[in-house]
């Protein structure tokens, strides 16, 4: 078994949060000036081992995310490579103005890792779900928004952050274990969507762990001789407009599938590109339709919002009828 396959299997087995902690252990070996800040979430972020092995590279801020972004910006401004982490709603909306002023306006560079974004914590209610993070952050200049679909892609996101001029928000989604999307290595670049599967007539744009539902839907559609193209838009901002426009033009129908409100997220980003480039492809936006529902487990909520494999497959069927 190749090294990359072993890695894919390993990350898939432990899920994104634990993968984050493991990747940090690698990153710190390469950079002594790396420092991780958390707001009392070291266990949830898979960082307990990091915390005990690299005391000088770890800073506990306490449950105060606004302060965390400020402290992170101060450290980065003085030459440290800084990662912060908290649960996605608290890593983004709670400290949104600090993100705007310190990272957007001042262009101080840090990497924020939002844990358990989307609907995976549905049992805990919508205080802990995160269906607004992309929309809120997308309006702030000088910020990358990345939504990896699996552990391997998370690793690529974390390594790419260093070479970018901007602060980066990495949105972790999905549970544990995590379904594998890739079975071999591939080229990753911030801003560049990746074709996961070739098809015809229909193109699906998606990002994050929900791509596993998309791939399951693709399997269901095979039985009806329907074969959509699947594009992994891991980088929601920046986004290669030309490539998106190309895939839109090539297909009669397009779907955006996201674990986010359909307002402000991937669906909005794709629709904006279609409008700007004059593409007339009909776009269907699947995701949370601007509402808070009753809570429930991950699978239940995906079904309620029409983004589980069966709902996706049914939707595509009905579009093509």
């Amino acid at each position: 078994m190749s090294k990359i396959i072993k890695k894919i299997n390993f990350y898939s087995g432990i899920g994104m949060r634990a993968s984050f902690g493991m990747i940090m252990l690698d990153l710190v070996k390469k950079n002594k000036n790396l420092i991780v800040l958390t707001s009392d979430v070291s266990t949830s972020a898979g960082l307990d081992r990091f915390k005990s092995q690299h005391k000088n590279n770890y800073l506990e801020i306490g449950i105060s995310e606004q302060n965390m972004i400020g402290v992170a910006a101060g450290l980065s401004n003085d030459g440290f490579q800084v990662f912060t982490s908290s649960f996605s709603p608290f890593q983004t909306l709670r400290c949104l103005e600090q993100i705007k002023v310190n990272l957007g306006y001042m262009k101080i560079k840090i990497c924020m890792v939002g844990l358990a974004s989307g609907l995976v914590l549905g049992n805990l209610g919508y205080t802990h779900c995160s269906i607004e993070d992309i929309g809120a952050l997308r309006s702030i200049p000088n910020l990358n928004i990345l939504s990896p679909c699996d552990g391997l892609e998370l690793e690529k996101c974390m390594y790419s952050f260093k070479s970018s001029n901007n602060s980066t928000y990495i949105r972790l989604t999905g549970g544990s274990p995590l379904k594998k999307i890739y079975t071999k290595n591939y080229k990753f670049k911030i801003g560049e969507p990746v074709k996961v599967k070739d098809g015809k007539k229909v193109v699906i744009f998606s990002s994050g762990a929900i791509i596993s539902e998309v791939m399951s839907a693709v399997e269901l559609l095979k039985l009806k001789n329907i074969s959509p193209t699947v594009i992994n838009v891991h980088s929601i901002k920046p986004i290669n407009k030309k490539k998106i426009s190309y895939f839109l033009k090539k297909n009669k129908f397009a779907l955006t599938i996201e674990e986010h409100n359909i307002i402000g997220g991937l669906g909005s980003a794709i629709s904006e590109i279609a409008a700007e480039t004059g593409v007339s492809t009909k776009i269907f936006k699947l995701g949370v339709h601007d509402r808070y529902t009753k809570s429930g487990d991950y699978q239940y909520l995906k079904k309620i919002h029409g983004i589980d494999a069966k709902s996706i497959s049914n939707k595509i069927n009905s579009i093509l009828k």
Binding site: G62, S64, V71, A72, G74, N77, D78, F80
Partner: protein
């Protein structure tokens, strides 16, 4: 220490503030809260904050103006210290200026961070102080916040953290002029005894008159193993007779007539 020199600097800084306010015209300026901070900055920049040559700029002490609306006091000091030019100074609030009504980060001009949204500066100061310690630098970090600014919850998040990190290279100064945008502290949100609150957070606390240079020097000189808070009791609009403790001058247009009167008063002091 040459206290007279600091007094002269303070007078020049006040004149600068008034000049820029006059030049801003109808754009208006935050005058009251700039004037209350004059002696604090004059003392700091005369005796405690040193600027190395540009090639060693990373070895400077840091001043963070968290109460960013009081930017005119900072710009005026930076003008006196020749870090900004007269032309730049007089471009205050003009189109395409590097000196708008709230400071924009410009390291080599002496503006460490962009501020203006209240409650952000102390956290940045903590991050900077941690970084300096990790790099084993002896430079100090000074953060000026307002008493009205202490309404912001983020100030208290930062106040709680700094002693936990034993940041004895960090000094926070509260310009306690007793007013905020639309009224007195007592009317808007009574913050009561600030010194006790910060002491209970485990800061070393000094309380001084924010216009008495001797007292300020002594407070800044105190060596402690904790982060230090200086409550500087000040008068909003200090030095501008018609503006002292008159909160209308929080943000206001300075007319030529009033400017002339104010300069005359300062010259007669």
């Amino acid at each position: 220490m040459d206290i007279n020199h600091i007094k002269i600097l303070s007078k020049n800084v006040r004149k600068n503030i008034l000049k820029a306010s006059l030049e801003a015209g109808s754009a208006s300026a935050h005058i009251g809260g700039a004037l209350s901070s004059v002696e604090i900055l004059s003392t700091l920049y005369s005796e405690f904050i040193s600027f190395p040559e540009k090639k060693n700029w990373h070895d400077r002490d840091r001043f963070i103006l968290s109460k960013g609306h009081a930017c005119l006091v900072l710009y005026s000091i930076l003008l006196e210290k020749k870090l900004i030019t007269k032309k730049e100074f007089l471009s205050f609030e003009k189109n395409n200026s590097i000196l708008p009504g709230h400071p924009v980060m410009n390291k080599f001009k002496g503006i460490e961070f962009s501020n203006g949204s209240l409650g952000l500066g102390l956290s940045l100061g903590i991050g900077t102080a941690v970084a300096l310690k990790k790099k084993q630098k002896s430079n100090k970090v000074y953060v000026l916040i307002g008493d009205g600014e202490c309404n912001e919850g983020s100030v208290w998040e930062a106040a709680l953290l700094a002693p936990n990190l034993q940041l004895n290279n960090l000094t926070c100064i509260i310009d306690k002029n007793n007013f905020q945008q639309t009224g007195s502290n007592k009317e808007i949100l009574d913050i009561n005894d600030l010194a006790s609150k910060w002491k209970s957070f485990n800061w070393h606390v000094e309380e001084v008159s924010g216009h008495e240079i001797n007292e300020l020097i002594e407070a800044f000189k105190v060596v402690t193993d904790k982060p230090k808070l200086i409550v500087a009791k000040t008068i909003k609009g200090k030095g501008l007779v018609f503006a002292e403790n008159n909160n209308e001058w929080h943000h206001k247009i300075l007319t030529k007539k009033l400017y002339d009167e104010a300069i005359k008063n300062l010259n007669n002091e």
